[in-house]
């Protein structure tokens, strides 16, 4: 299914913003993405997340939903209303796993949704699969795609 192979250089040169008040959770994602060569920015709440996004323009954002100071929902709203950040895809990564939470996340404008706890072995693949329909990401991934099934899903 995947159009790419995970490697320590897959995300070379990428900036990824992780927004989570739980430093352990953030660190797990950080380590997994750094294993693929990405440059990681970590924000502890929505407000900080928004500021980093505006300042560093990451390729995508992985954000928790429930956070002090500013929630993931509020941050998404701010990102969407700002033209500079409106097109940055945001993946919700949350321990809220009620069926309604997923629907709420999509209708709020999150690009996609992943439930905690994540599967460390497959996390990166899952994450990038959710993002492959974003042209900017798909273009960056393409040169690294290997295998016969070029670009197809």
């Amino acid at each position: 299914m995947t159009a790419f192979t995970v490697s320590d250089t897959l995300l070379q040169g990428w900036k990824v913003l992780i927004v989570d008040d739980e430093t352990d959770s953030a660190e797990v994602v950080q380590v997994l993405l750094e294993m693929c060569g990405a440059e990681i920015l970590i924000a502890n709440n929505g407000q900080q997340g928004f500021e980093y996004a505006l300042k560093h323009r990451p390729q995508f954002i992985v954000s928790d939903l429930s956070m002090p100071t500013m929630s993931g929902w509020k941050m998404l709203e701010k990102l969407k209303t700002n033209p500079a950040t409106a097109n940055i895809p945001v993946i919700a990564l949350t321990a809220h796993v009620q069926p309604t939470d997923r629907e709420r996340a999509f209708s709020a404008g999150f690009h996609n949704y992943l439930a905690k706890p994540l599967e460390p072995e497959t996390f990166v693949v899952e994450l990038l699969n959710l993002l492959i329909n974003v042209p900017a990401i798909s273009e960056q991934l393409n040169p690294k795609i290997e295998g016969p099934s070029n670009g197809s899903q």
Binding site: E22, D24, S25, E27, V31, A95, V97, K116, P117, L118
Partner: protein, 634 residues
């Protein structure tokens, strides 16, 4: 007249009449009070009137009869007196001689007779004058000297007087310019030849005296004689201004002068409404009338009539007053009741109607109070129920929120644990022993996660919040996939794992794939968990409207008495086996709840030591559900 004081406002009156039972009550009272009184008064008045008239007429008749008798007597006395004069031989001879041939003898006879007659006039009031005339009407002798020599041929009595004793009815005599009444008797000689007539002028004043005696006729009653000639009065009126010589008319006068006798109510000669009785007296050719003013005659009746009307009016007023009083008295508890009902309607349930009477209205008030009490009790009970439901809902919601929160809070550390453990495993820097420990730690973390998921799942199912869909699934593909997942486990435990799908089972079945998968997975997981040797079999079959999924094992089995409780949450065969076999104990419970939610059932056949078979039966749907209307048409 019998209405309450709502003047100049008919609408208000109609409105009152419509809204209040007072109106019919008052009408009823007035009718009850007035009708009999009115009928009694009216009928007695009519009867009294008739009786009074009869009585008056009877009285007038008796008076009239008395007067007629008196007149008759008076007249007879006159005639007999005249007869007595002629019965006197000297007087008779003188009369004959007076009418004889002229000469000394005749002159002597005239002188003697005149003297005799004059003595007779003086001796009695019966006659004013006696006079004697011959067959040619010439007066030869008279007690009034001026009459002598006059002729009576023109007088009305002349002709009749020559043949028999006669009475000339009262008439207006031209010669005397007065009303007169002449009584006469022929004078006959020895040979029976009528020579002349001896006549007496009757004294009418005497008759008048007789007639004007009141005879108990009250202040307006009178009796009078009326003459056939010129309708003159013969006897004087009791009232001033009615001279004798004047034509008088009334129903009574006109009738009696046409010869009738009778009675009647009419306007009399004085222009006054009167009750009268009249009688024709042929011997004097005059009418006798007895009259009394109707007003006087009926005055006692009129007094009674007035009294009766006053009584009836008072009865009517009393009827209205009584009606109003009774209405007020009757409707007072109803008004109280209405007021109480209005108060209760506005939410004041402490109000109670006063039960002041034992009658129907009192019973109504008591029933109303009982109803209100029941109402209050019902409302209390309902409020209590609502509160209970509210609390239950709140508790359910609190439980759900708690579970959602706990789920979130448990997942967060598990996320870090599983994540770091995974990263450690991927690092490739652990030796075999450490790798094993990391794997075991990871497996336990996963088990914890499964437990959390099961708890969430069962609480959602028990709250009825599980949303199920009907989607087409390929049951053979699904079973194959599950088999490949479970093969690893079977191999690890050294168990035989067989899968059978009956030929009769359709390729496509409509059901909820997630739920079905979960049920099969749970049943298989359960079977593998409790089976240490032998086999596990998954068998899919179908009938007309159900399809069945049976999972059999050759494990420890379950005692019969536990077949029911096994599907309850957190149950395993015994507490100790929880530790021996692990697991949350929620798997079967989830299967049971999912079956219920999908209109199916799960059954168990098992003996301890003989293994178990769990069978899930679900409705078989092979086509998308059609519209209910179409279903009815088909």
């Amino acid at each position: 007249m019998n209405q309450p004081p709502v003047n100049n406002n008919g609408e208000a009156l109609f409105s009152w009449a419509r809204r209040s039972i007072g109106f019919p009550l008052i009408v009823a009272f007035v009718l009850v009070a007035m009708l009999p009184v009115s009928i009694a008064v009216a009928s007695s008045l009519a009867q009294w009137d008739r009786q009074a008239h009869q009585q008056i007429i009877a009285q007038l008749n008796s008076v009239s009869d008395l007067k007629a008798a008196q007149i008759h007597e008076w007249l007879a006395e006159k005639q007999s007196r005249l007869g007595l004069l002629l019965a006197n031989s000297k007087a008779n001879a003188d009369a004959v001689d007076s009418l004889g041939p002229a000469g000394d003898h005749q002159a002597l006879a005239v002188e003697a007779l005149t003297q005799f007659l004059t003595e007779q006039v003086a001796a009695t009031d019966a006659f004013d004058e006696f006079f004697l005339y011959d067959a040619q009407g010439k007066i030869w002798v008279s007690t009034a000297a001026r009459q002598v020599g006059k002729n009576v041929v023109a007088e009305p009595y002349y002709k009749a007087s020559l043949t028999a004793k006669s009475v000339q009815s009262p008439f207006y005599e031209v010669s005397s310019a007065d009303l007169n009444m002449i009584v006469s008797q022929p004078v006959v000689d020895a040979r029976g030849q009528t020579l002349g007539v001896l006549a007496g002028r009757a004294n009418l004043a005497e008759l008048s005296n007789t007639m004007t005696q009141r005879s108990g006729l009250g202040s307006s009653g009178e009796t009078y004689l009326v003459s056939l000639e010129n309708n003159y009065l013969v006897t004087a009126s009791r009232f001033e201004g009615y001279p004798l010589t004047q034509a008088y008319h009334s129903q009574g006068i006109d009738r009696v002068l046409s010869g009738q006798s009778g009675s009647g109510v009419y306007v009399n000669y004085r222009g006054v409404q009167a009750i009268g009785v009249y009688e024709w007296l042929p011997e004097i050719h005059a009418g006798l009338v007895a009259e009394i003013d109707e007003v006087e005659a009926l005055s006692p009746i009129n007094a009674s009539r007035t009294f009766s009307i006053i009584v009836a009016t008072i009865a009517g007023i009393l009827g209205v007053a009584l009606g109003l009083g009774v209405t007020f008295w009757l409707t007072r508890p109803l008004r109280d009741l209405t007021r109480t009902a209005a108060a209760i309607t506005t939410g004041d349930y402490t109000q109670r109607a006063a039960v002041t009477r034992q009658n129907e209205i009192g019973q109504l008030a008591a029933a109303f109070n009982k109803m209100t009490a029941n109402l209050v009790q019902t409302i209390d009970e309902l409020n209590q129920r609502i509160e209970e439901i509210r609390q239950a809902k709140e508790a359910a919601r609190a439980k759900e929120v708690f579970l959602a929160t706990m789920s979130h809070e448990l997942r967060t550390p598990l996320n870090a644990m599983i994540g770091f453990l995974g990263i450690m495993g991927m690092s490739g820097k652990l030796d075999a022993r450490n790798t094993h420990m990391v794997q075991r730690t990871r497996a336990n973390a996963e088990r914890l996660l499964a437990l959390i998921n099961d708890i969430l799942e069962i609480s959602r199912l028990e709250a009825g919040r599980q949303q199920l869909v009907s989607e087409p699934i390929h049951i053979r593909d699904l079973v194959e996939k599950l088999q490949s997942q479970m093969d690893v486990l079977a191999e690890t435990k050294g168990l035989k794992f067989a899968v059978e799908v009956g030929e009769e089972v359709p390729d496509t079945i409509y059901t909820d794939q997630d739920a079905l998968t979960k049920m099969i997975t749970n049943l298989l997981g359960n079977a593998f968990k409790f089976t240490d040797q032998g086999s596990v079999t998954l068998k899919v079959s179908s009938a007309a409207d159900t399809f069945k999924i049976a999972v059999s094992d050759t494990g420890v089995g379950i005692p019969v008495h536990l077949h029911q409780v096994i599907f309850e949450s957190f149950r395993q065969v015994d507490g100790s086996s929880t530790r021996a076999h692990g697991g949350s104990g929620l798997g079967l419970s989830i299967v049971h709840q999912l079956c219920k939610a999908m209109n199916g059932a799960v059954t168990l056949t098992s003996q301890p030591g003989q293994g178990s078979t769990f069978t899930v039966s679900l409705p078989l749907v092979t086509a998308q559900a059609v519209e209910p209307q179409l279903e009815q048409v088909v």
